[in-house]
């Protein structure tokens, strides 16, 4: 299969991982996790590549990818805004926070803004229920007790480059 030059390194990393685990039974999901970590999402070519490497039908790989919410078949924004819609956050008004994010960014959930900077993802319980409603940007930046009014400030911070800029 033709592999784009710039992606060669990435595929190499994936190969190394597959090499290590390929004898374990039922390892497909772990390989997909690794691939998503490397590529950011799971493009069709990557799915085909994995199918070939593991000797599985592409349809099976695709079936697994689409079954699980965690696997993305579309690229995500540079800053992923995860809005907790778990029960505790919901009863504290997370739906209003969600609405405001979508409105301010002019996108639908899971969609990327035209400048590629943001995508909004509803998630469930970030384990920070005491601070409900909770928003997590990227992997680390938690915001607690978020109200709709805070939304534009949060977005502005990442337009400038990040929470602490």
């Amino acid at each position: 299969m033709a592999v784009c030059e710039t992606h060669k390194e990435l595929y190499k990393e994936l190969d190394e991982f597959i090499e290590k685990v390929k004898d374990k039974p039922g390892i497909l999901i772990a390989v997909l996790h690794k691939a998503q970590e490397i590529f950011g999402w799971l493009p069709q070519e990557v799915q085909e590549y994995i199918a070939e490497k593991l000797g599985l039908p592409v349809s099976e790989v695709h079936g697994v990818v689409t079954f699980y919410n965690f696997f993305a078949t579309k690229p995500k924004g540079k800053n992923q805004i995860k809005i907790c819609l778990g029960t505790a956050c919901y009863v504290k008004g997370a739906d209003r926070v969600m609405e405001r994010f979508l409105e301010e960014l002019g996108v639908q959930a899971e969609e990327v803004t035209p400048d590629g900077l943001f995508s909004v993802h509803p998630v469930r319980c970030l384990g920070a229920c005491s601070m409900a409603p909770v928003v997590l940007v990227g992997e680390k930046d938690f915001y607690g007790k978020v109200t709709p009014d805070m939304v534009s400030k949060i977005i502005a911070a990442y337009r400038r480059g990040g929470r602490n800029e």
Binding site: K24, P25, G26, I27, L28, I29, A30, L32, H33, G63, V64, F67, Y68, N69, F70, F71, L85, G86, T87, A88, Y90, V91, K92, G93, R96, E99, R100, E103, V123, R124, C125, L126, G127, A128, C129, S130, M131, A132, V134, L136, K140, F142, Y143, G144, T147, P148, D149
Partner: protein, 611 residues
């Protein structure tokens, strides 16, 4: 290894992280370094310590002093005063502890703080007390003693007998007797068997399993090994949800360290028993918490459930006899083996022995994790430990069991918390999530929230669940939008019963519970929406309007400035007014008005609401 004089345990549970734990930790480390103490004072992150509403939290050992609501400045002061000079810093102590100011009097944490005092920590015995990355600290708290006892002094049958006698029931939701499950697996003739720990923790609002994995991972390694010995399995799997990276990392480290100490691997403690554990990571599908779906997922397939029987103990992972237990269930196993069934039975009730961890959230003062003896009443749990409503309002109900559970109205708060009593009320114990609701929560909306969850998470394999929940959701949506009829309510009820009876797995079978239980206790709220055009909780947008009280409005313009749709008009220092056609009912204005001039009314005053 350098001698450590103090350890600062800092809570890195989700609540504390979002309250700013990271910057507090950095401040501790920076200040310690400044004084050259970084080699003798360890800063260690733990799993959720329980008192999330007081976060960020830290405990200083060996003194055991709890500090709350920390800031980077507070951390610096604690290093300068407490660590360096041995003087407790009163400003940041837990409430009620401030009278005791010197270390001599030992303001000891847990026992004296009301939030902790009524708790009995068995599953959470080490969480927030030991460094979860240190196997030595686990051992120092009797860690791996139970495994040693089981392997060297007990037969597998005796282990099973002890667990059976303890009356331990599964904490993952269904409450199935653990000892019996193990016995059934033991009796199967098969050269290969598997032991699985279910760490998928899907109920949105429950995070005790995560806290155990992040705060005390060795307890799970030890318990799984004991279980493996009891049932005759050589291989264990922990299925952890992908959303818990820290838990995965710590468990991995615990497994490696246990190997290094000979507590895992070949010939454990020199016996002929060998056991190993592998971690498998989920991928964001709620249904994978269901045991047959979970096994499919470990096999690398789509995580769809299958019909039972055969049960996993007969035909489980790769067709082999398999036991699946929840994290909290397993965390209770080592203490039972070590201290005996009758010790465990002194807590809890006859039919539900022991303790249960609950995650308190929603409209309650002390949000967080609490471990209490079963049989405690809801009132004790919510008021004595939970501290009641944060603003002193009336608590309306508590929702237990998440998307599979139901609501329990305040009239029933004297009910003891155990599997049977909650079941009788139409709720369930579930995994222990408790969401407290007050007068601002609309029961139709709560039911709709859970149905939306189910519709999203139904795996689509069977029709009643896939299609039926969708129809139920649509009806609820219609009602909350002001388009419902009385026939809709009846249809909802009929449908709920059909789905309950005809779905393939627990997800579909329990999905109607939120609807059935809200209908049982709050039918009048449904009817108010349909018949009177009123949402009593003033939650559903179609039934409310925001209005400004001309008497109270001083014309400060705060509301007009915050309104996202410019729906508020008025000149400075003159009474403002809301254009109901432009208002999107976001509620921002009510929050910024310092004069209490804006209120919500139901029914809606505008003519724009579809009737």
């Amino acid at each position: 290894m350098a001698l450590t004089t103090n350890t600062i345990l800092i809570c890195a549970g989700g609540g504390c992280i979002s309250a700013g734990e990271e910057s507090v930790k950095q401040a501790f480390e920076r200040k310690l370094k400044e004084f050259g103490l970084d080699t003798v004072v360890k800063v260690v992150e733990t799993g959720c310590m329980g008192a999330c509403s007081l976060g960020p939290l830290a405990v200083i050992y060996p003194d055991g002093v709890y500090y709350q609501k920390l800031t980077p400045k507070a951390a610096e002061k604690i290093v300068e005063e407490h660590i360096l000079k041995g003087r407790v810093v009163p400003e940041f102590l837990f409430e009620g502890e401030k009278e005791k100011l010197t270390l001599k009097e030992k303001p000891r944490g847990a026992e004296e703080i009301p939030f902790f005092a009524r708790q009995v920590k068995i599953a959470l015995r080490n969480v927030g007390i030991i460094d979860p990355m240190s196997i030595e600290e686990y051992i120092a708290r009797d860690g791996y003693f139970a495994l040693h006892k089981a392997l060297t002094q007990m037969t597998p049958e005796e282990v099973i007998k002890e667990i059976k006698e303890s009356g331990l029931r599964g904490r993952g939701g269904a409450g199935f007797p653990t000892g019996l499950k193990w016995e059934l697996a033991r009796q199967q003739q098969s050269d290969v068997k598997y032991m699985i720990c279910n760490a998928d923790e899907g109920d949105p609002g429950a995070f005790m399993d995560r806290s155990i994995l992040e705060g005390d991972p060795h307890s799970i390694v030890e318990a799984m090994t004991i279980a493996g010995y009891a049932i005759g399995a050589k291989q264990g799997f922990v299925y952890v949800r992908a959303e818990y990276p820290l838990a995965i990392e710590r468990l991995q480290k615990a497994i490696e360290d246990a190997h290094a100490y000979g507590f895992l691997g070949e010939n454990i403690f020199g016996t002929d028993f060998s056991f190993d554990i592998e971690i498998r990571i989920g991928a964001g599908a709620f249904v994978c918490g269901e045991e047959t779906a979970l096994m499919h997922s470990i096999e690398g397939k789509r995580g769809q459930p299958r019909v039972k029987p055969p049960f996993p103990v007969q035909k489980g992972l790769w067709g082999k006899p398999t036991v699946i237990n929840n994290v909290e269930t397993l965390a209770l196993v080592p203490p039972i083996i070590l201290r005996g069934a009758s010790w465990f039975r002194q807590f809890g009730t006859e039919k539900s022995p022991g303790t249960k961890v609950f995650a308190l959230a929603g409209k309650i003062k002390n949000t967080g994790l609490v471990e209490v003896p079963m049989g405690i009443t809801l009132r004790e749990l919510l008021y004595e430990i939970g501290g009641g409503h944060p603003q002193g309002k009336q608590i309306k109900a508590v929702q237990t069991g998440g998307p599979s559970g139901g609501v329990i109205p305040a009239e029933y708060f004297d009910t003891p918390v155990d599997y049977e009593s909650l079941g009788k009320l139409g709720a369930i114990m579930g995994s222990g999530g408790m969401i407290v609701l007050d007068e601002d929560d609309c029961m139709v909306d709560v039911a709709k929230f859970f149905l939306e969850f189910t519709v999203d998470e139904s795996c689509g394999k069977c029709t009643p669940c896939r299609e039926g929940t969708k129809v139920m959701y649509d009806i609820l949506d219609k009602i909350t939008k002001g388009e419902g009829t009385m026939e809709d309510i009846e249809k909802l009820e009929k449908l709920a019963l059909v789905i309950k009876d005809s779905s393939l797995c627990g997800l579909g079978q329990t999905a109607p519970n939120p609807v059935l239980s809200t209908l049982k206790y709050y039918r009048h709220e449904y009817e108010a929406h349909v018949k009177d055009g009123v949402c009593p909780a003033k939650r559903c947008k179609a039934f409310i309007s925001y209005v400004i009280d001309a008497e109270k409005c001083v014309g400060c313009t705060a509301c007009a400035r915050v309104c996202p749709t410019n729906a508020i008009h008025g000149e400075v220092r003159k009474v403002h007014e809301i254009d109901q056609d432009a208002c999107v009912r976001c509620g921002s204005c009510i929050e910024v008005c310092r004069f209490g001039a804006i209120s919500k009314v139901t029914p809606a005053v505008s003519s724009t609401v579809a009737k």
